[in-house]
């Protein structure tokens, strides 16, 4: 556990020892702020039956941030160590493959969680001016945060996998962006699917990230969505572990 903690700390320090982490935080802060302003001016004082959290997702700012930032966070995790050679001294220290994979994943996830902290400030602002707890109740707030975290698990594990495959950070970023975008846009087919019940339409609905997030933003914990995110995260972590392990295949 001590070793794991040291590895996660090292992972986080790669963001904060240099300007990288702060630049990412600044960029995300800007996009969140922009999204927030767009949402508020869009409402323009009118009443809306939707919870504010749900409105935020429907502006696409959330998805833009997620799709762009996830590859940037994870591209370095393995690729940088491969390129600089520190991977060799890491993997010959008495640490297990799983410890390395999980610590890289955890480090990325913690940084990702830090990135969304400004949303809390946004909610405080809304509460202050609206003064009604019903608009932004603790329920939807909690489930939205859970949703953000779960979708983050998926995208961070995907990014770690992409990074483990290469020694080039740019390649890692592009391939994890491609995977992330493909998954996201596949979800659009669910609009065309409508109410049809053939297996393809059902599949489209099931992989639609936007659908899953919508239920979280309404304050609903959809068990199907939770399982969807966690199982895909586990799959990508497993694949990453296989890649790490593969250097010792004969």
């Amino acid at each position: 556990m001590n070793v794991f903690r040291a590895l996660v700390r090292r992972e986080l320090s790669t963001f904060f020892q240099g300007p990288t982490g702060f630049i990412i935080i600044a960029a995300v802060l800007f996009l969140i702020g922009l999204g927030f302003v767009v949402v508020l001016t869009g409402l323009n004082g009118h009443a809306t039956p939707m919870p504010v959290t749900q409105v935020f997702y429907s502006t696409y700012f959330f998805w833009v941030i997620l799709l762009l930032i996830a590859p940037v966070i994870t591209m370095r995790s393995f690729a940088m160590e491969h390129a600089s050679g520190t991977y060799e001294s890491l993997m010959t220290a008495p640490v297990g493959d799983w410890q390395v994979v999980l610590s890289k994943f955890a480090g990325a996830l913690v940084f990702y969680a830090i990135l969304w902290m400004p949303l809390l400030a946004c909610s405080v602002v809304v509460r202050f001016y609206v003064g009604e707890s019903a608009v932004l109740g603790p329920g939807p707030m909690f489930t939205s945060a859970l949703g953000i975290l779960l979708v983050g698990c998926l995208y961070m594990s995907m990014g770690c996998f992409a990074s483990a495959l290469t020694r080039n950070q740019a390649v890692a970023a592009v391939s994890s962006f491609a995977m992330g975008a493909a998954l996201f846009f596949t979800g659009f087919f669910s609009y065309f699917a409508g109410d049809r019940s053939d297996w393809l339409s059902q599949l489209a609905r099931h992989v639609s990230l936007a659908n899953h997030m919508e239920s979280f933003s309404r304050g609903v914990i959809d068990l199907g969505a939770v399982i969807f995110f966690l199982s895909l995260t586990a799959l990508f972590l497993y694949l990453t572990h296989k890649v790490v392990e593969s250097r010792r295949w004969k």
Binding site: V3, A6, L7, G85, T86, E88, T92, A93, P94
Partner: protein
Amino acid sequence: MIEVQHLTKRYGQHVALDAVSFSVRHGEVVGFLGPNGAGKSTTMRILTTFMAATSGMARIGGDCVFENPMRVRKRLGYMPENNPLPPDLRVGDYLKFRAQLKRLANGESARRIAEVMEQCGVADVAGRFIGQLSRGYRQRVGMADALLAKPELIVLDEPTAGLDPNQVRSVRKLIRELAGSHTMLISSHILSEIEMTCDRIVILHKGRLLASGALDELMAKATPAVVAEVRAPLDDAKEWAAQLALGQAECAAQQDGYVRCRFVNASNTGARKKIFASANERGWPLRELTRQAPSLEDLFVNLTHGKEGGE
């Protein structure tokens, strides 16, 4: 301490390591010698559990490097080729991080870090970023990391590569200091390096084991070289040296019209007699005719000669 049998590593068609076997006893300092691409780093990576061999067996302190990698890693201090270090950490923080990975107890770790920093001469740069250090300092940080957990076995891949002569000397000194108390495996393509620091050598060439044994034993096998300086045009001297058929000869023109010929593989007295007689015959003034004690270099040339050597 180290036992390697028929170790083979293939990358697709390319054979990086071809049935290499050797063993290292406890407390020995063994030099891994060979030109670039001979398979030194590959062997070290397999021994340090970084990657697996295609076939063969390797044990460190009785533990198989394929089946018990964790146990092997715990008794190992390894400095990989080019000594990769994270540039964004301070020296002290890096060693602290490494100490945690190597499971040093918290109280012990601070003391041990101070010890190795002192030993490797990096205490005065403890607060500086690794990225800002000179190559010599970085190398010593790498060594400090290798020593950190008091490993039974220290593996250093080209510890003196890219250093200036002063830095080489200090690294060499450090290696000699450690030699008494540790089993060490050091690779180099510089012969004098190995000659100065190691008890035993293992010579690799194109993935094959050329020779292994105690330094003196191997040296005994090497025939001494003979050097002759004659006054003659360089081309004539080269032709003459070839005609003598005393093995491989290197001829170099001196500034004053003499040519210095070195017969690497020449046997003793007979060779000198022959050289003297034939130089006399041609009427070439001869100003030096010496027998040189064999160097490791000669040994290496001997061994690789005829095996499309020539690196």
